[in-house]
């Protein structure tokens, strides 16, 4: 597997060459500063772009066309990445070695060009996408684990720019007009930082001219900061009441270690030991030893430096759960863990790193992280970084980690 990078009109083209897959994946990402955009408009606009275009003028025609391209899949997605709001168009299609028709790449590129340059923004499509987004926000309440996560994020980031939802704001949906969508589209096409990746077994030198000349996007050429460090302040505990079978608990640890920092890999090991997977200390303590929960884990956000410990447990057990979770953190801070625990965490991460190369869609994210944050794309470099992590480095890092926030949802049930 090899990564080759070119630039054309300041747009970054990354070619991931591999003989491993039967699928081909072409991804276009449009990045803009999160502070300067309206994510609600952007989310609706990118979905309208997917729904239809000047050549396939209805959703039905669009679906038929994709089916005729051997079930090619067109995904659009809005997300946050550090300081950036990212609009992503991903096209997944079959390697034409396995099809009767052979020029599938040309057909796909033609289709993508139409999608990008000949959008069909009409009132019907706008109304549908607005309704879909309203329903999406309402549906977040349906699944109480998802709702608890949403509320947790809302309270945790209430004083910081990261509070912005990648899909926008429910209250702003009704105000959006077709003119807003057209303006939003023009801004995306003309004022974005653009990254394109293509996973295939083709020779990059041979296909780059075809892809870059067909897609032919002009990226802005500026220096930007993809990551800003915030000094997160401790917050008061929040408990919200809801009639649920199981309380959801979130505890936030502040680390001050971000993606590009020198001890980033040590932080990954700390989090793996704490609560990533079924061999972590949280899992062993809360689930296996105390039988308090079915799920318990921690996750580290390299864009905020925060670690979230989360679990679902009966309301009667929450106080005991909190004590045990903090005990685990204190064990890590005091060095009360074995060399085997450390080795297990490193092995867990190493396995994940290796396996990350087996998923066609995740490879383009690896490539983007390399372009934006200089996180190595090659497996060997990543593994070497992990191997340098020691018990001493984990202890040093852990000494600065502290609890800054606790959120709980539930509490209304009495019976088990």
């Amino acid at each position: 597997m090899q990564l080759t990078t070119y630039q054309h009109n300041h747009t970054v083209y990354q070619y991931i060459t591999s003989k491993q897959f039967k699928s081909r994946v072409l991804t276009i990402r449009f990045l803009s500063d999160l502070n300067n955009v309206n994510p609600t408009e952007r989310h609706i606009m990118i979905n309208m772009l997917k729904a239809k275009n000047a050549k396939t003028k209805t959703r039905k025609a669009q679906s038929k066309h994709l089916e005729s391209l051997y079930d090619s899949m067109l995904y659009t997605h809005a997300s946050k990445l550090g300081t950036q709001h990212v609009l992503q168009i991903t096209f997944l299609f079959i390697d034409d070695t396995y099809t009767i028709e052979k020029n599938l790449l040309n057909e796909v590129l033609y289709f993508l060009k139409t999608t990008l340059y000949e959008p069909l923004f009409d009132q019907q499509s706008l109304d549908e996408e607005k309704q879909f987004l309203k329903d999406y926000f309402k549906a977040e309440y349906t699944n109480k684990t998802r709702y608890a996560q949403k509320q947790y994020i809302k309270h945790l980031y209430k004083d910081y720019p990261y509070k912005t939802h990648a899909l926008g704001d429910e209250q702003k949906i009704d105000q959006i007009t077709l003119d807003d969508i057209t303006k939003c589209y023009d801004e995306m096409m003309q004022e974005s930082r653009i990254f394109i990746s293509f996973l295939s077994n083709n020779d990059p030198k041979r296909i780059h001219p075809l892809i870059s000349n067909t897609i032919n996007l002009n990226s802005v050429n500026d220096s930007f900061t993809p990551l800003i460090k915030y000094n997160f302040k401790p917050l008061d505990t929040v408990k919200e009441t809801l009639d649920v079978s199981q309380n959801r608990l979130f505890m936030t640890l502040k680390s001050d270690v971000y993606m590009k920092d020198k001890n980033y890999f040590t932080m990954l090991v700390f989090n793996a030991m704490l609560g990533e997977g079924s061999d972590s200390l949280l899992f062993k303590t809360i689930r296996e030893d105390a039988s308090l929960a079915y799920y318990v884990y921690s996750s580290y956000s390299p864009f905020t430096g925060l670690v979230t410990m989360t679990c679902g447990m009966h309301s009667d057990n929450v106080e005991q759960g909190k004590i045990l979770m903090l005990d685990v953190v204190n064990r890590l801070k005091s060095g009360d863990f074995t060399e085997e625990d450390l080795e297990l965490a490193k092995t867990h991460l190493l396995t994940n790193i290796k396996q990350g190369y087996d998923h066609p869609i995740s490879l383009s994210l690896k490539a983007l992280r390399y372009a934006l944050f200089d996180i190595p794309f090659e497996e060997e470099t990543l593994i070497h970084e992990l191997e340098t992590v020691t018990k001493e480095s984990v202890l040093k890092l852990a000494s600065d980690i502290r609890l800054i926030f606790t959120y709980e949802l539930g509490g209304a049930h009495e019976n088990h």
Binding site: Y70, I94, T142, T145, S278, H314, H348
Partner: protein
């Protein structure tokens, strides 16, 4: 060892038995970093009993297959998953209605991890204390699901469709049945169902086939047991229990889920069942899929949103189709879906659509071969019927337009049930 090449997909499969008892399927996937291994037994949530050493049927509490899945990882009170993790393997398991599967994906120490998996699978050592401790964990798993209104909607629908069939019960069991499970019931069910003759080991990845074949010959398998699988006869009428039900839930959007039991009239061979499943999928795609006129009409009428979906389940033991969506108007959507279900509209002029959908099936099949998880899941599922995953696409290619039109007969209004979920008055 039998080797089968599939040049159309550039894939090679090898199959053999360990000691003429445990079926093994190896699939080569050059350049992949991980190797994916699964070991399955045909013990699922539908199995609620066994034959004891005297040949007498014994019933066990519901949810026992899932409980066993949790406890297999225990060896004398110790969780064995740590041993896998130390050798670069992530282990997991899942229980379905018709089988239980244990799996790991590893990047090293393949044979050692397979040997550990087989030992764990055939020789667990349960402790009373471990069984008791697991109950609370599984109760919390159930509580987590019970907080999901769509999970409750799905199970309410199955109870509206089925009178006696055990598919109406939650795979996890009930709070009462989980509490009633003990070590002796686990041991008995394990002895009856975790037998090499009924199980299948699947290994997929980039590894030395011949070396692994030689190593697997040395694996130790358990002695035959006296306990046997047993399933009470199920006499399930085609009619549903109840045609419609409404749930008041803590949700903000109403939704509708319709289910209809499928009746094939006569038992199908595995080949026929797959052909039926595929023909039926094409039929449903043509009539209800996102490229159908009907889907477009539903959107135009604002009766569905992008949560709309359909699902077909077809196993030897049962078959049903589900269609559902969030909707502002569940009653109108119900009327529209039922009318469309019961009034076939496929005409000869739809032949182009049929050819396009077959292309779409081929594309999605080939691309899904990039997922080792999918290949392993389908391989072990089909292995129980002596078929291979690559046979599926040949069967799909053999389907004619007439096969698809013939699917119209499978809908009977009496076999239908539905559940509307509506917001409670005090929902936020």
């Amino acid at each position: 060892m039998k080797t089968i090449d599939y040049p159309s997909f550039n894939e090679t499969l090898h199959t053999f038995y360990i000691q003429d008892r445990l079926k093994v399927i190896l699939i080569e996937k050059p350049y992949f970093h991980k190797t994916y291994v699964s070991l399955s037994t045909p013990l699922g949530a539908l199995n609620t009993g066994y034959l004891d050493s005297e040949g007498k049927p014994q019933t066990v509490p519901k949810g026992i297959a899932h409980f066993l899945e949790h406890k297999i990882f225990e060896q004398d009170g110790q969780d064995i998953s740590r041993q896998f993790a130390l050798q670069e393997a992530n282990i997991n398991a899942y229980t379905e209605y018709t089988r239980t599967t244990y799996l790991f994906h590893s990047t090293n120490h393949l044979y050692d991890n397979i040997e550990r998996l087989i030992t764990m699978f055939f020789h667990p050592k349960f402790s009373e204390e471990g069984v008791e401790k697991e109950k609370n964990i599984i109760l919390e798993e159930l509580n987590m699901h019970l907080d999901d209104p769509y999970y409750r909607q799905y199970h309410t629908l199955l109870n509206g469709l089925y009178h006696h069939h055990p598919i109406k019960y939650d795979i996890l069991g009930t709070k009462e049945s989980i509490k009633a499970i003990d070590k002796s019931a686990l041991n008995a069910m394990h002895e009856a169902y975790y037998r090499p003759e009924d199980s299948v080991l699947v290994v997929i990845g980039d590894f030395d086939v011949e070396a692994l074949y030689q190593q697997l010959q040395l694996i130790s398998l358990p002695k035959p047991t006296l306990m046997q699988p047993w399933q009470a006869a199920i006499n399930e009428p085609i009619e549903s229990v109840i045609s419609a039900k409404t749930l008041k839930e803590d949700v903000l959007l109403p939704s509708l889920l319709i289910g209809i039991k499928l009746n094939t009239e006569q038992p199908l061979s595995p080949y026929q069942r797959i052909k039926f499943h595929l023909s039926f999928s094409i039929y449903m795609d043509l009539r209800f899929g996102k490229s159908s006129d009907f889907y477009e009409w539903l959107l135009d009428e604002k009766l569905i949103n992008d949560a709309y979906g359909l699902d077909i389940s077809l196993e030897k033991e049962y078959g049903y189709v589900l269609i559902g969506s969030e909707t502002p108007n569940p009653e109108t959507l119900y009327e529209a879906l039922v009318e469309h279900l019961l009034n076939p509209t496929i005409k000869r002029s739809h032949i182009d659509d049929f050819n396009r959908v077959k292309k779409h099936l081929l594309g999605s099949f080939v691309m899904s071969l990039d997922s080792l998880e999918f290949v392993a899941h389908e391989t072990s599922r089909l292995a129980l019927d002596n078929l291979y995953i690559y046979d599926v696409i040949d069967i799909a290619q053999s389907i004619t337009f007439e096969d698809v039109i013939a699917q119209e007969k499978h809908f009977v209004k009496a076999a239908l049930s539905s559940v509307i979920t509506e917001p409670k008055n005090d929902a936020q």
